[in-house]
């Protein structure tokens, strides 16, 4: 029970990181972006590439910070992966979504986002192969922190949770304490009014893609650090991340954070009752429950 909750909290933190960007994008661009979760994959694989590069070029960095398996090279690689993924998100928007946004309805963007997801996922397969990869081979030997021998907590997991919370807090400060954050929130509330007030819509959209991309990259890397990395990571996270935004209410950043933890913990608990094969169906059941009980989500505005 406690183990299931702890695992759920960890997965939840990663889902939350992913959901924050999605909820902002969905609210601002008014479309369900099914290619969004592929940003997690881009981030995680970018981190893999730069991790390899740094540890080869600067061997000093290839030292793990005991008791973590995280190395200096990987920490640096993750920061760069966040930048790379943020830029990729902007480029994808430029190449595809912005053009469609300018001439067609939002649902065409949903179709296009599926097409983009297919392309990204399979290009990753072509480059990196189908097999699972790890950042560090030492994961298996990482020792266990806990007071109770039956409950397994790895130091990496504690680190992942803390880092996720730090990133969320940083975003909170950005949104509530800076003019730039006000601009983002203003556009999310009412794009036309924000433009009248002198906010440049295109600049805010670019900024939101960068935020969404870098948080997703962090989520993807942190997931790969505590589990493993394979090209299906985007497909696996797509539904949980959507479930988190719906639980929290589309457009609410705090809702997405809470929704991520709810989805993570609920899935963890449900797997105590159901065989693990049913795990992919859990987020859908959560979505159904929310649509029946409270369609606007926890913090969402009235639908429609």
């Amino acid at each position: 029970m406690i183990q299931a909750i702890l695992d759920g909290v960890l997965t939840g933190a990663i889902i939350s990181l992913g959901a924050i960007g999605l909820t902002l994008i969905m609210h601002m661009l008014r479309f369900a972006n099914f290619s969004y979760a592929e940003l997690l994959a881009i981030g995680a694989y970018a981190a893999l590439v730069f991790d390899g590069l740094f540890s080869a070029l600067i061997p000093v960095l290839d030292q793990a910070f005991a008791p973590l398996t995280l190395t200096g090279a990987l920490a640096l690689a993750m920061v760069i992966a966040m930048v790379v993924t943020g830029l990729s998100a902007v480029i994808i928007d430029r190449l595809v979504f912005r053009r469609i946004r300018l001439k067609a309805d939002p649902l065409s963007m949903v179709f296009a986002s599926f097409g983009v997801a297919l392309i990204i996922r399979n290009v990753i397969v072509l480059i990196f192969g189908h097999h699972a990869q790890l950042y560090s081979q030492e994961i298996a030997r990482a020792h266990v922190l806990s007071f109770d021998p039956l409950i397994l907590i790895k130091p990496d997991q504690v680190f992942v949770l803390c880092l996720a919370l730090v990133l969320m807090f940083a975003l909170h400060l950005l949104l509530t304490r800076t003019t730039f954050g006000f601009a983002i929130r203003a556009v999310a509330e009412n794009p036309s009014l924000a433009q009248v007030a002198g906010v440049r819509l295109s600049a805010v959209i670019v900024a939101v893609w960068i935020i969404a991309g870098s948080l997703s990259a962090a989520a993807g890397t942190l997931y790969a650090l505590t589990n493993q990395l394979n090209p299906l990571i985007g497909h696996v996270f797509l539904l949980p991340v959507f479930a988190a935004t719906i639980v929290g209410g589309i457009g609410s950043v705090y809702g997405a954070v809470l929704g991520g933890f709810i989805v993570g913990i609920a899935s963890g608990l449900a797997l105590m009752l159901l065989p693990p094969g049913y795990a992919p169906a859990m987020p859908f059941l959560i979505i159904l429950a929310v649509l029946i009980l409270r369609p606007q989500g926890l913090f969402g505005e009235e639908p429609r």
Binding site: I100, P106, L118, V125, G277, P283, P303
Partner: protein, 324 residues
């Protein structure tokens, strides 16, 4: 020669089944503007429903009702329609994002259900042993292939005729009205949520019919038939062919199924051994590029929707009265 004809009839049978599914999507997306992200779920519901109702009894296996073919098919279609109704009732009053996410979710959930419920669906090894319709009457497999192709074409014609009748009826005009301007349609006393629900349910029932025909043909279904790629293929068919135009939907289905089959064939024949593992990925990239490319450069498809400019009798009368 016989080999070629029997391959061609196999190809056309599959293309015909895909065309039926694409017509179902055309009702939902082309005429109503509903986004269905889980076509494969409704296809799968029809396929598994038909299989469970129509196959003979097996030990340790739920089902085996051994019902007559038409009854089993009707049951499968009903099952697909019921699934669509549940999703529609919950989401159609909300923003369109919710329908997109929920239909996508229902496909993921159904795939994981059939993969894991050994007692109900045979799990990963699937269900087999379906009495194919009229097989005993025909005898040899070559003629049977042609007979089944005829069955598929008859169903395709029926679905085409039904949808044409539907979209040219007042109901169809109301569907297009809510697609174009929901507020105006509401002001005219139309109930958008109810019209959308009907369109979703009928379209999904047609997809279920596609699934029912598919199991009737293969006499086998497994979770491998329920992969998301089917959804993407059908979208590509409709987008390439032209949403809102049944001719386009069928043309797109045959074209894309041809491209899919040929590319698969070319990759297994021509690509070096080292690339064989990646052949599937290359095909996925092809489908993804087709969808994105069409949306960017020719969003109306090869055969765009034609809105009839011919005034109705009532409008004629009104014009005459104004002139007088």
């Amino acid at each position: 020669m016989i080999g070629l004809i029997s391959y061609l009839s196999f190809f056309l049978t599959m293309a015909g089944i895909m065309a039926i599914i694409t017509l179902g999507l055309n009702l939902q997306w082309g005429y109503t503007g509903l986004f269905n992200g889980g076509i494969v779920a409704f296809f799968g519901a029809g396929a598994y429903g038909t299989m469970i109702l129509g196959s003979g009894a097996e030990p340790d296996q739920f089902g085996g009702f051994d019902l007559p073919w038409l009854v089993a098919v009707a049951g499968g279609i009903l099952f697909a329609a019921a699934l669509a109704w549940v999703v529609g009732v919950l989401t159609l009053r909300l923003k369109h994002d919710y329908l997109a996410i929920s239909t996508f979710g229902v496909a993921v959930a159904l795939e994981s259900l059939v993969r894991n419920s050994q007692w109900l669906t045979g799990g990963a090894r699937g269900l087999r042993g379906f009495p194919r319709p009229f097989e005993e009457l025909v005898g040899d497999t070559f003629t049977y292939g042609l007979v089944f192709l005829a069955i598929v074409l008859v169903v395709l014609a029926l679905v085409w005729w039904g949808i044409e009748r539907l979209v040219h009826s007042p109901f169809g005009r109301a569907l297009r009205a809510i697609r174009e301007d929901e507020t105006a349609a509401r002001a005219l006393g139309k109930n958008p949520a109810r019209l959308r629900l009907w369109s979703l349910v009928i379209g999904s029932a047609i997809m279920g019919a596609g699934g029912a025909l598919y199991v009737s043909y293969t006499a086998f279904i497994s979770p491998q038939d329920l992969l998301p790629v089917l959804t993407f293929q059908v979208w590509a068919m409709l987008i390439v062919g032209g949403a809102g135009n049944n001719r386009g939907a069928v043309l797109g289905a045959v074209l894309i199924w041809g491209v899919w089959t040929l590319s698969g064939f070319a990759l297994t024949r021509l690509a070096p051994d080292s690339m064989q593992l990646d052949a599937g990925s290359i095909q996925y990239i092809l489908i993804g590029t087709l969808i994105v490319g069409m949306l960017l450069w020719r969003p109306e498809g090869l055969l765009p929707e034609r809105i009839s400019q011919k005034p109705t009798k009532m409008a004629d009368k009104a014009v005459l009265e104004v002139k007088q």
